[in-house]
Symmetry: C2
């Protein structure tokens, strides 16, 4: 009687699933599927996940699918909030000593920002924030200047929002592309960035609340630096005086990316063109890694 | 200069994410989130997941969300096809020696099937398949009969489909509830089940194809057995002569659940009422585990 056979153990189920991928002819896919199954099964087994908890996990994934659309990517938000995006970045983008480190792209990047003049402002609306002169040089590892490098920059305004989050904002508000001069120097006028929360009205927000975590990111300006012969660098300039540097909701802070924003009074020499009130300035050299 | 600090290692990112859950006041949630992060980070680190592979994973999850609706649950299908549903079942439903084992509920169960007479048929359309007399007793561990137990049964027809997959089918076709007699016996007339593929036109189907796996399940009849004083049992009767017993797409086969369907010729005594052609019969006693 087959009734006499021993019940199938949890370990045997895992072994059966792993064996099911034996016929996979793509060696890398086989490796990834087996690693996925090994870790998910170990997660279930070690925690002795209950059927109710499994049902809640399915409901959370389903809700994540429902809130995701062309303007919102809650699966990437999970990846960010669980530190997976930063981990993938860290594994892909190890840099030699002295090169500028990378960090997350984030969900607010929009390609094809307008090419602007050296030193121009990216603010296309008044009241976007305290003017911030951002300047420095793009360098290679040996300290030589990289002329003609492209900086693609974007940031949020004093209202915490990126232009892409505000349908009424000018499309190119608070973003732009700049080229370095022959000495590798760049400059543009931004606004002082402020901390902002990641979207917290969905499943990721529920997790953060239940876990006792906040949704805030420290103040930063995004940059992508592209130059021929160098690896493209996706990074931030973090305000070294910002709140939340020690608890970024997406774990993207690297100490090497902190920069001090210097405060300047009204009328102080060196103010960007047209700026009459208080302003700030921040200097950051960007050292590129050679292309492989 | 903060530029001099060492870059953050992959291990440090994982440690930072784990530490972020220190403030979680729900100890079980904290345990689950930390185990989730530990295993997902180990998966990424061990496989050195690339940014392209990460992007494909995000796209697969997004497609899973898009195909999921009130009639289709692709996240549960992933859980089934990766053996997670069976693993959760195995951990939740260990049974004492001699008790009938459980297996997956599957996506085709619909509550509130009609209560039918002892021995009645669940087929409400002609041509549903070869008539199958299903009979046996519901017993407790000491072999005593369980009177008044409820069997909630459902199955696919010879066309491979469950009624819930066919909008034109009578709502109660191939499903019903039955009660055991005073001697614990039950009987109903089903049709001989046939193998069928799980839905394979979505992301799970793509994975199966790329992995060299087929989507088929071996032939089975679903049962839920409910009786006061006993743990509710969700199980299958598998046809011991079916194809795919060794490669069920959802890993739900347990040897103790195989039963031989006996074949009977036209006119053989014991044929179910109204059956004039060939028929089959299968006997299965169902032994319940006491409620905790």
């Amino acid at each position: 009687m087959s009734d006499q056979l021993p019940p199938k153990s949890a370990a045997q189920i895992t072994a059966d699933v792993l064996a099911s991928f034996e016929g996979c002819s793509d060696a890398r896919l086989r490796e990834l599927l087996r690693a996925l199954v090994s870790h998910l099964h170990a997660l279930v087994t070690e925690t002795r996940l209950t059927q109710d908890e499994w049902a809640r996990a399915i409901a959370t994934l389903t809700a994540t699918g429902q809130i995701t659309d062309d303007h919102r990517q809650e699966f990437i938000l999970w990846s960010d909030a669980l530190g997976i995006s930063m981990l993938v970045d860290a594994l892909a983008n190890t840099v030699p000593a002295g090169a500028t480190e990378s960090t997350v792209l984030g969900p607010f990047y929009v390609p094809d920002a307008p090419l602007r003049q050296w030193g121009a402002s990216i603010a296309e609306e008044g009241g976007a924030g305290v003017p911030a002169l951002v300047h420095g040089r793009v360098l290679s590892l040996d300290g030589s200047p990289v002329a003609g490098a492209e900086l693609d920059v974007w940031q949020n305004g004093a209202d915490r929002l990126y232009a892409v989050q505000r349908p009424e904002a000018p499309e190119d508000h608070l973003r732009g592309r700049f080229r370095t001069d022959d000495d590798g120097s760049y400059a543009f006028v931004a606004v002082r960035p402020v901390p902002y929360p990641i979207p917290y009205d969905g499943p990721v927000g529920s997790m953060l609340e239940l876990a006792g975590r906040h949704p805030w990111r420290p103040a930063h300006i995004h940059l992508i630096v592209r130059a021929e012969g160098f690896r493209t660098l996706t990074t931030h300039i973090f305000d070294a005086d910002s709140e939340y540097l020690g608890s970024d909701a997406v774990f993207a802070v690297k100490p090497s990316l902190l920069r001090t924003f210097l405060e300047h009074g009204s009328g102080e020499p060196g103010a960007p063109e047209g700026v009459t009130g208080d302003w700030v300035s921040v200097q950051s050299d960007l050292v590129l890694t050679p292309a492989p």
